[in-house]
Symmetry: C2
Subunit: 592 residues, 2 copies
């Protein structure tokens, strides 16, 4: 059964249910970015593996929106599916809202699964439908009927983190959260929030150490909704000691229905439409306090114990990446190797490190033109063979007992063109200028983005993804609330935040370059003009000097590169010896 | 009668009317930034002349909020008034909303004049009052009873601009606006919008060539509400020819009351609370379309005829400023002169230029420590005597038949310290990097601000005002929607927008430096990475080389300075001769 057959089956079901427009997204009941197979319905229908998809199916059209990271890969995946790729944010491309505005008519029926669509989004769609006098069916879930051989929900036990790993007991986090609580309860759907708050981890979603769960948290009561099969005896007594009650994962809706006479705080961006509607019905709309999730910021500002583990973990992880780069530079051309073989080598190195839990995302080993896709994932059939020329971009990371890592380096495998060197150098300059930026307290990512992009803009080049994202501690590789991007990045930086710094240049069908280091936000000084903050690198991996062209750097840029490499040499050299150490020394020689 | 007596008189009136909290702002019925004397009630009560004031008076407190441009001057003006200065946005300073939240109690009565407070602001205050179960009296206007010798409204005739000045007839603007109209009518309160739309100008507010008016604009009817005394016979027949009906300025409320069965579009940020409440009552809340004013963007993107006039006007104005700087550098130390004398010289030069209408704001001639106040205004008693040392900052501009100008240069009068040179150089670098920035289409001011601030941030310095504002065409020196600042600057740049570029460094009690050039947004290129935009200077005045220290510049910064000075020399030298020309040549010599 090919994709267009699957969509036809969906259309039949829509017809049966009187649905004219079906809308779904690549997410789960918890507004997750990464999801378990059970929820990959957009992939089942279209073949598209992007992490950020909105799909609309009508009687005669199927349209899939995704963002700039996936434009190239999605275009490939959708060939022959009959699904039209909509490049979100590109000039002339209709947005989902605009599409609904121009297509919904009086009497049209728009259906979606209110467990998958979050409340903010649903409210937008309902407003548009209202304007057009169209009807919304918010509990239409065709995945339950048309998905053949739908994977089951996974079952994995949770584990508890000790205080010397978390730096703060659940008891203390509970106290802090109670201070931020508006109303009587907060309903938490976001999985990494729940894991962070309870100091536990799970394994239901590949790459994200989280367990499918909900939490209702208030002064009087704290209830964890989770499948019993995932609760060990140890966890059960830990929760009991901490006064946390257990309830079944599928009891969340009926429990919310039993809430009365209380005020409930809830984040509409992170809550499914059905949960929100249930809360509003049971306690009354005027007693629902819709507010940004307070846990996100608490979780983002790492404490001293976490920072100490993170710094050590990043050194260990950087050593592995250095050893991997050395091996690539030595072996490519002598040993037959595909992109997948390279990924396997790196993944194995990481898996042998102490405290290794899992990769933090699928390793991206992208050779030459494949790297023009920011989130390329090769398979056995398609993986390119590495040769002694061009670039190998490797974006990778892992979660260890002591931190979650993420790092990208673009490795020079052989001869480069002048343009390749110019682009590589501009990306390095972009990365370094942001890494070494100082900025007043109160500055947010939207106010820093241009510092990274300027060296590219000067050459009339830009890249189509964010410049930086927050990173969890033994949690998701992408977390908020801070980020560095062109817009929607208004959270001010706070010392202790961990953020990536990852500019790139992508030339379709030619190559892709990205240099990503992870940073820790620190206070720099306090004086006449207030407090200034800056970043400190957590990642210590050389930026490949074989592609550096000093003509694209200011004197100051060269100083920054040399300063960074001096740090890399100091931090990493104790862990290497022999050929590897020699390579490190020559890879961190000052540039003149 | 001193200020505290005036506030006491207000308190008596509040008591009589049962008002516990009185709130007002330095604005008029049209949300104007600059206002005529009739509306300067906050200045009457407190002596504070800032353009951006919120004043709250309670039974025992009076608090005045203003922004960073005015912190130093307001502190001086408020000495002895009993009014407490609240520095908006500074760490630890309670915002107006927070003050209301912490002070309003159940049963408190908060009063304001709903013609002076705009609808968005009023809605915020009403929400807070609602939460606290306090009462809002939105038609409390004590200025009508407690203000002794309140100035009358001014009366000045309007004049009509010909098409070869505006580049677009009212008829064509009308067509374009009708396309953007949601609903049946738009109610326009913003004075410069009305002037722009009708291609007329007035003279009711000093420095702003606008007339007090309202407009109700729809497909069927366009009505201008204005005082009859301001309407010449010529204007009357011009409006008649264009199908615009005249009504009295004070008939606006009663006319709105007569509106029935129609949808009305209105911008709550630019409409007084009383006008909004009247509209909502008369057509019904669900038929009021609250939307950002579409005229602002139309007005901001200048057409080719306007641009042609603007470019020529800026050259003429730049020549005057060059001649003024030459004279200052020659005469200070030889001729006895105060800051005011300097301003008079410059103002006279401008007034003699062809097409001169009025200054676009009160000239700011600030010597040494006075320049630490970003918007300093000397009076005869306080004006400093200029000497052969330090800096003279001059911020000035005018409106001519052909454009409104704005320019700041900081002039070296004598010996400087190393820190003064370093700061001056950093400000120049900041100005130049922004001026020469290239950026992708879609970029807004919030995404450019860091490019200007980075050279200051690198030295742990910052400034407390926006980096750039839009500028009107023969209109207000500050206009939207675009701006360049840390936050709230989300309007993407469009070719044809005119924006200032004005970074500064202010050291209290020492000195202030600002370099302001005005720019035109232009398209730079269109290629693989989309369309890139940039700026072109409209201002051609040397940046004082006597204060440039190359140690604070990269090689590229020096190239930018030399390129800018080369342009200044090419553009301005045809207009100068003798000593003035010699000065221009030496002031634009390339730096090595």
């Amino acid at each position: 059964m090919n994709y267009s057959d699957r969509i036809d089956a969906l259309r039949e079901d829509m017809k049966k249910n009187g649905i004219d427009f079906f809308l779904t997204v690549s997410s789960d009941d918890h507004a997750s970015e990464y999801i378990c197979d059970h929820y990959k319905f957009t992939e089942y229908l279209t073949g598209c593996t992007s992490d950020n998809v909105i799909l609309i199916v009508t009687g005669d059209e199927a349209l899939l929106w995704t963002d700039g990271r996936y434009f190239i890969s999605a275009a490939g995946e959708l060939v022959g599916s009959g699904v039209k790729l909509m490049k979100s944010g590109e000039p002339g491309v209709e947005s989902v809202s605009d599409f609904l505005k121009s297509h919904l008519k009086e009497g049209s029926r728009l259906g979606f699964n209110g467990m998958i669509i979050n409340s903010s989004r649903a409210a937008d769609y309902e407003r548009i439908a209202g304007e057009k006098k169209a009807e919304v069916v918010y509990d239409y879930a065709p995945e339950e009927s048309v998905w053949l051989n739908r994977p089951d929900l996974p079952v994995h036990s949770l584990f508890i983190l000790p205080d010397d790993i978390t730096g703060e007991s659940y008891e203390k986090k509970k106290e802090r959260l109670l201070e931020k609580l508006d109303g009587d309860y907060i309903i938490i759907s976001k999985l990494d929030d729940i894991m962070w708050l309870l100091n536990v981890r799970g394994n239901d979603i590949a790459y994200n150490p989280v367990a499918l769960s909900y939490m209702i948290f208030g002064k009087e009561r704290q209830i964890l909704f989770i499948r019993k099969e995932e609760v060990t005896e140890e966890l059960s007594s830990y929760l009991d000691e901490n006064g946390v009650t257990l309830a079944g994962y599928d009891e969340i809706i009926s429990y919310i229905k039993s809430l009365k006479d209380c005020k409930v705080m809830i984040d509409p961006d992170e809550t499914s439409d059905l949960v929100m509607k249930t809360v509003e019905k049971s306690v009354g709309t005027d007693r629902v306090i819709k507010k940004a999730d307070p846990i996100e910021l608490m979780k983002a500002v790492k404490n001293d114990v976490e920072l100490d583990h993170i710094r050590k973990t990043y050194i260990m992880d950087s050593v592995a990446v250095c050893r991997f780069i050395f091996r690539m530079k030595r072996d490519v051309g002598r040993v037959d190797m595909t992109e997948l073989d390279a990924a396997e080598i790196l993944d194995k190195m990481r898996s042998e490190l102490p405290g290794y839990i899992e990769l933090s995302f699928e390793t991206i080993p992208a050779y030459n033109e494949n790297a023009a896709m920011a989130h390329y994932a090769p398979d056995k059939a398609s993986a390119s063979r590495l040769q002694k020329s061009g670039f190998l971009l490797v974006d990778s990371g892992a979660t260890y007992m002591g931190g979650t890592t993420d790092v990208t380096r673009t490795i020079v495998l052989g001869k480069l063109t002048d343009q390749e060197k110019a682009d590589f150098t501009s990306v390095a300059v972009s990365n370094l200028r942001l890494l070494y930026a100082k900025f007043p307290k109160g500055t947010s990512g939207v106010g820093l983005d241009a510092i990274a992009r300027q060296p590219l803009w000067d050459r009339e080049i830009d890249f189509n993804h964010g410049t930086g994202h927050g990173i969890g501690y033994m949690l998701n590789v992408h977390e908020g609330p801070q980020s560095i991007r062109r817009r929607n990045a208004d959270t001010p930086f706070v010392p202790g935040m961990i953020t990536s710094d990852e500019p790139g240049i992508y030339r379709e069908n030619m190559y892709g370059i990205r240099t990503e280091s992870i940073t820790e936000c620190v206070e720099v000084s306090s004086g006449e003009f207030g407090t200034f903050l800056g970043f400190r690198p957590l990642t210590f991996v050389p930026i490949d000097l074989d592609a550096i062209d000093g003509n694209y750097m200011t004197k100051r840029d060269i100083e920054l590169l040399n300063d960074y490499h001096k740090k890399v040499r100091n931090v990493i050299s104790p862990y290497l010896k022999g050929e590897e150490l020699d390579w490190l020394i020559s890879s961190t020689e000052p540039v003149k």
